[in-house]
Symmetry: C2
Subunit: 339 residues, 2 copies
């Protein structure tokens, strides 16, 4: 078993920095697209064999040091009965978005062990095939709530923020309900055998400082405390982590995954060495010529050279039109860098 | 003459905090929409009388402590011959976006005193009617370049970043060319009589830390140095200023205008008291009930109570569907707060 990732997450890695990439299993891979031709996105993550195969692809092709389960942060709203499908070129569509307080108060308390059994089955199926740790994940309550209200991706989260500001009580009831489900969901993933968890707050940067603490951080903290096995390391990712990193550190996650705005060394200067830092290459660097990718990777690694808690990653996910060669160059550059 | 704004910009304001709001002259005002019915957006900023009238509206209606010239950051690409119009519900459209290096190298050196004479005429026309300082403005070279390449607003600036990463030399030639034009343009505004300048880098948050320093900060610094009258105070605004504020402070602007992610007091703790801070209420707070607006304004003012260099503003512009009453409540709350 390759333990680089877990060692770094425990801040005691003296070997090279581990590397994995957000959205490493995805459309940029021809092997992925070949499967995607035959199945919808939803079918892919709902079938344990297919989800396993797709999760394994980047590990087999590039040799990342961790795998992340092929799934989606919106399986919770789906389990809550809101309806979910993915539209090519658009993204996720929530079919029956929340419109009123009544919609929030009539959300069911779903039997997740049943409705999300395909996730635990995928983990069961995957685990024996892996020689790297498997990362389970979920969306942060604020981000998941925004999809449930907007009905899909949205640039400014106008409806969500209006709800938050005009009717904070029901908004918090929604966040609380998602939090409860999320804790149950992550506990199912832990029981099924994931080695680490990452929570994605992709839209946190829409929030002001105090709003972030009230509507995101509080619930991240509840989730953290609600995990049955406190030994499973938890990484927090936000778009906005460059600004919110000290707040994130307060709830003592095992790792913080940074977006690409901040200088990584500067981030380390305010985050204790007991918390791993993950990131934070601008994903668009993968559009650059290969020699630029090599240089940028090397610069980041050199800056974090003696850091025992550093995990190489992008500041956000790989995009569908990025080149396989670019990803290969990135991974190889991390692995070939000698401390 | 009301000097609160300039006093605060000089960090020696002992009276109440001054207030003005980004996009304070705009579509949320019925008085603005009435004029807009008769003219296109372009006609409005190109006609000195109309531009003056619209600039004055929020001062007359709410009594802000500074006026900002009604214009657009894209008058430079327009003067460079790229064609510009504004599409309702979409935003600015650059008609002939840059496609190749040749397009950059064939950009003209326009006679801005001539092609942008409508701006200086508007300033001439406005000045005698104002009893508050007039703020001139421009876009930052990176943001202006992004519109010239994307052809309009764009969520991820994909083409711009690909150009920056794949062909940095021509990208820097473009930034340099915009910088030269911008310096000339701001000098014209200074000669015409503006009392302060604000530079808008609305898309800076698409950049990584080193990219921001290389592709934005360098050119902001050149602009600052290129102004003929160094006594005219300059404010720098970025989406991303929450992360980039210490970099911005290095080039010694008179003021930094912050987006709403950061805690303002924390920002002050890393920015010397010789640089004014402007901001940073989440603009969406204007969607909240009036008592929430009052509370949020009061909280910000209380936090900056003894700060001699604080200017109240939003973290970004007012949106077209915001309520007049909300804006009035905000302005009144600032004015009624006693230190």
């Amino acid at each position: 078993m390759n333990t680089l990732f877990l060692d770094a997450l425990a801040c005691r890695n003296d070997s090279r920095a581990p590397v994995w990439l957000m959205r490493q299993a995805g459309r940029y891979l021809p092997e992925y697209r070949k499967i995607r031709e035959k199945y919808t996105f939803t079918e892919m993550y709902r079938h344990p064999e297919i989800a396993s195969e797709v999760t394994l692809q980047p590990i087999q092709i590039f040799g990342m040091d961790a795998a992340i389960l092929f799934s989606d942060i919106l399986v919770i709203p789906e389990a809550l009965g809101l309806g979910l499908h993915f539209k090519d070129g658009v993204g996720p569509i929530i079919e029956r978005p929340l419109l009123t307080d009544v919609d929030i108060d009539s959300l069911p308390k779903p039997e997740l062990a049943e409705s999300l059994s395909y996730v635990t089955q995928a983990i069961d199926h995957l685990s024996p095939q892996l020689d790297v740790p498997l990362i389970g994940f979920c969306g942060a309550p604020f981000t998941v709530a925004s999809y449930m209200i907007e009905g899909g991706s949205s640039r400014e989260l106008k409806k969500t923020k209006q709800w938050m500001l005009r009717n904070p009580k029901s908004f918090h009831r929604l966040l609380k309900h998602i939090t409860t489900c999320t804790i149950e969901y992550l506990n199912l993933q832990i029981e099924a055998g994931v080695s680490a968890l990452q929570i994605f707050d992709s839209w946190a940067n829409a929030l002001g400082y105090a709003q972030f603490r009230e509507c995101s951080l509080n619930y991240l903290s509840e989730i953290r405390k609600g995990l049955k096995n406190q030994n499973i390391p938890v990484i927090l990712f936000c778009r906005g982590s460059s600004v919110f990193l000290e707040s994130l550190a307060e709830i003592m996650p095992d790792g913080i995954s940074l977006d690409w705005n901040i200088n990584l060394k500067k981030a380390r200067s305010v985050i204790p060495e007991t918390i791993a830092l993950q990131g934070n290459l601008d994903p668009d660097i993968l559009y650059a010529p290969l020699h630029v990718i090599r240089q940028e990777v090397t610069d980041l690694l050199a800056a974090m050279k003696n850091d025992r808690g550093y995990i190489f990653n992008l500041g956000h996910g790989i995009k569908p039109d990025m080149a396989v060669d670019a990803v290969r160059t990135l991974v190889d550059s991390v692995k070939n860098f000698s401390r």
